[in-house]
Amino acid sequence: MTDNTSIDRRRFLKATGGTASAVAVAGCLGGGGEGDGTDTPEDTETEPMETATEQTTRDTGDDRELLDKTFQLINSTMSTLDPVAATDTASGTVIQNVFDALMNYPNGEIEVEPLLAADFEVSDDFTTYTFNIKEDAQFHNGDEVTAQDFVYSFERLAGSSNSRRAYFTTSYAMGIEQSADSDGNYEWGSLGATAVDDKTFELSLQQPFASTLEMLAYTSFSAVPEGIVGDHGNYNGDMAYEDFARNNPVGAGPFVFESWETNTSCDITRNEDYHGPVPHVAGVHWQVITDPDAAYNYGQNQNSDLVSMPTSQYDPSLVSVEQTDSKGREIGTYGPMRNGETVQYLKYSTINTFYIGLNAKNVDPAARKAMAYVNNQQEGVDEVFKGRGTPAYHLTPPGIYPGQAEGYNQHAEESYPYGYNTTDIESARQVMEDAGYGPNNKYEVTLTTYESDTWQGLGTILRDKLANAHVNLQLEEAPFSTLLNRGRNGNLGAYSLGWVMDWPAPDNFLGQLVPELTNTDQEGGAQGFYLDWDDSDTDAPQRASDAWDRISNNPAPTEEAQQTRNEAYVEMEEAMWDDMILLPAYHRADERMAYNWVDMPRVGAGGGSRQKLNNVYLNDRS
């Protein structure tokens, strides 16, 4: 849904995979701590599902009611249907429903569950994962899903020229064993992914990686039939790559691909032979609409079953929250809307952070701190985003912060050095005057934001406040690709960006902040955020580096290693504060508004794009 002008920029938030919280991490830790714990999927077949409105006892078993209605939705521009090539949320949303992976975020919930895996085992040293694949699972072409298919799929991810997520398999994330030739290209057949037999798949890692199971739920790791395309060195391909990525993607997911007309619409239909709960709805139709107002009108005309609500049309006073569930999701109603209807309302936190990066080379340390002093996160969220988010103080979002939201808030309230939810112009002026600036000697700095009304709104507030603290802030907007290019090469001062998790652990966020990686002068530009933190004169970058070393040296999913990592995470956050190299602005909250005839499970912190739609039920539209 393109329901927020600040986020519907194409390709902004690319994460198509997962989200999980420390709960999920702890969950898999529990299993890991006991050695080779075997995990079996929970019996979800008979469990009543929670829906946005109430608990229903709708049968989710074999004799499910199959409707002839199509679920009507809005999507933004999709670029490909190949799971290893997709980087945008729009493509990921469709891929999620056509392809299945070993693991899954059930309804986008952060605690992963086996999907194509029947069960799995982890070795004592946490480097070998053995998966037993479900017996009755088959692809849309009728072939059975085997371990060989997974070997092929994972090798494509690691080595295909079409793969845009090869780094998920390297030491950047999972570190699956593999070797490269002298040119640095992946050597076919070298991946530590083997088929022990038809139904047993083994994964060997170079070293433990705590978020392995969460990572495997990412759509990039989806199963495709062995040898279907020829971009794998050892196969000729059953069909042309263009065909697979564009016209005929074959997966094992709950829906079968039907058609896709570029920039117009995409249709998928029910997979009657699905190995899990067969979808209630006959299919899903996505209309491609990128303009927030057009999407709003489309929803108001009841052309889609979910309502798109751009921030400009959003009225916080129309929300009435009836309950907050155990996961902190707010459930209630929204309305009456323009068309007179009142709809089901669900608000849930997703795992992301939006921030202002402050390049150490290009922005004076005093100005960086002044900006933090004058910024009042709560005010920004309330005034610009109409409360559709939570104020951010850390780079790590509350859902995965050590100690969860409680630990997050406590640490922020007690230790945030620049005034917790306050505008402190006095201190900002002081820090600038100490650095030799004054009314006749103002410091000039440019804040470059991506094309977004909301960021420009935040920038305007900052500019007006900073004018009283001897800082002259210029606002500038740039297309997304330009912003990234300039950032990577060190040509930005202050800039706005966001990070949405690839995997649900703080190392995914703080790993971008490692001072050596933020150096924009190196070959190819910055490897992490565009901050040049290594150029700072203080001891903060060194502290952050040391903390990161400790994180890297304790990768195992054990309680003890987790404890060491958690302490180091907090140290990195504090080092970031001390130098004010990155000013966290807000964590986005997602909302779902559904007409009353829609009956679907609540979404988890993974977000709507990770929810498979096989449990959606539609009552009579009226």
């Binding site: 690319k14 845009r164 323009r338 997304f480």
Partner: protein
């Protein structure tokens, strides 16, 4: 100089113009900060992946090599696959997919002002300083003054709430629902253009003889027209006002000229004067205006396509441009440039037909 010699020269002179245009396009895209690789990968991706994609797209090769390849690709109308918008799809394929709806929108947005604006203008010119003239002239100014981006949003919003507004305006007597009127349709989104099936024929038996007809689906056709009308009216509104004003002036100017007076003196009927003498001469200043508007056919509809979620060529061009999608932008620019250049030549040609006094010296 003969007519044909003149046009041969015009065609030759067009070549450097086209070359210059596409070279500028290349320079802006490749020398500026637009980065297709960043657009493909987004911020969540480490640079090792950047280098890989750069190599795949050939962006790490010397610029002159890329330039030559680009120019050769243009000449053969084959710039290869789109970089960003849809990898693995030829840029030309994407353009062909998106073109029909934009042409459909452009067609109606040229047609509407042509058949409303010009007759109104002529009417006003023939009846100057009457109530009808004031009404038409004032209307022309208003249409001219309302900006497209605003009018489009208003149209979409009002049509979406047609029931509420019709009840409000008629105190509950009339309940008009635009999207259910005649045929049901969505208010935004691309109009269906499959009303004409070029392969299929329908057999019709009339009095014992069987005639084969091309199959034509009237309902889909009406839906396609109905869906495109609001954005087409908005898009044509400015030119409608323009053509109305210019038409009025042109008619006034001709009607007061000496030869019209002569015609009247020798007793020609008013009808003959207007149609034979005034109409044709008044059209001359309108020709360049109308032809310039023909550019709407392809490129001028970015905003309307966005507002009404039509997602045609204009939308494609904008997306490709901000994401540095070289093959797509290059192909589109090339086509735009060619159209503009040829439109200019065509305009000169039309002049000579309408007004034989125009020479080639």
């Amino acid at each position: 100089m003969s007519r044909w010699g003149y046009f041969a020269r015009r065609l030759l002179l067009a070549i450097p113009v086209v070359l210059f245009g596409v070279t500028i396009t290349f320079a802006i895209l490749r020398l500026g900060p637009l980065d297709p690789v960043a657009a493909i990968l987004g911020p969540n991706t480490p640079p090792s992946q950047y280098a890989r994609v750069e190599e795949q797209l050939g962006l790490n090769r010397p610029l002159w090599e890329q330039y030559i390849e680009f120019m050769v690709g243009l000449l053969t109308f084959d710039l290869g696959n789109s970089y960003v918008i849809q990898e693995n799809t030829k840029a030309m394929t994407l353009i062909v997919q998106h073109a029909p709806r934009t042409l459909w929108l452009g067609f109606w947005s040229v047609l509407i002002p042509l058949f409303i604006g010009i007759p109104l203008g002529f009417y006003a010119g023939l009846n100057p300083n009457t109530m009808g003239d004031y009404f038409a002239s004032f209307g022309g100014i208003i249409w001219r003054a309302m900006p497209n981006f605003w009018l489009g949003v208003i149209f979409y919003s009002v049509l979406s709430q047609s029931v509420t507004y019709s009840e409000m305006l008629t105190f509950g007597v009339v309940q008009f629902q635009w999207d259910a009127w005649i045929v049901t349709n969505n208010i935004g989104t691309p109009p269906p253009l499959n009303f004409y099936n070029s392969n299929g024929t329908e057999l019709l038996t009339v009095g014992g003889t069987t005639i084969s007809l091309f199959s034509f689906d009237w309902e889909v056709f009406v839906r396609a027209v109905k869906m495109v009308l609001p954005p087409a009216i908005v898009l044509g509104s400015a030119s409608m006002g323009n053509e109305m004003r210019l038409g009025r002036t042109a008619v006034l100017e001709t009607i007061n000229s000496k030869y019209v007076e002569t015609a009247r003196a020798k007793g020609l009927s008013r009808r003959k004067i207007v149609w034979k003498h005034v109409f044709r001469n008044a059209l001359i200043p309108l020709v360049p205006i109308i032809l310039n508007e023909a550019f709407l056919l392809i490129g001028g509809s970015v905003i309307m396509e966005q507002i009404f979620a039509i997602n045609g060529i204009g939308y494609l061009f904008f997306q490709a441009a901000i994401q540095g999608d070289m093959p797509l932008v290059g192909s589109l620019m090339y086509i735009f440039i060619l159209i503009v250049v040829f439109m200019n030549i065509f305009q000169d040609f039309l002049y000579t037909i309408i007004d034989p006094r125009v020479g080639y010296e």
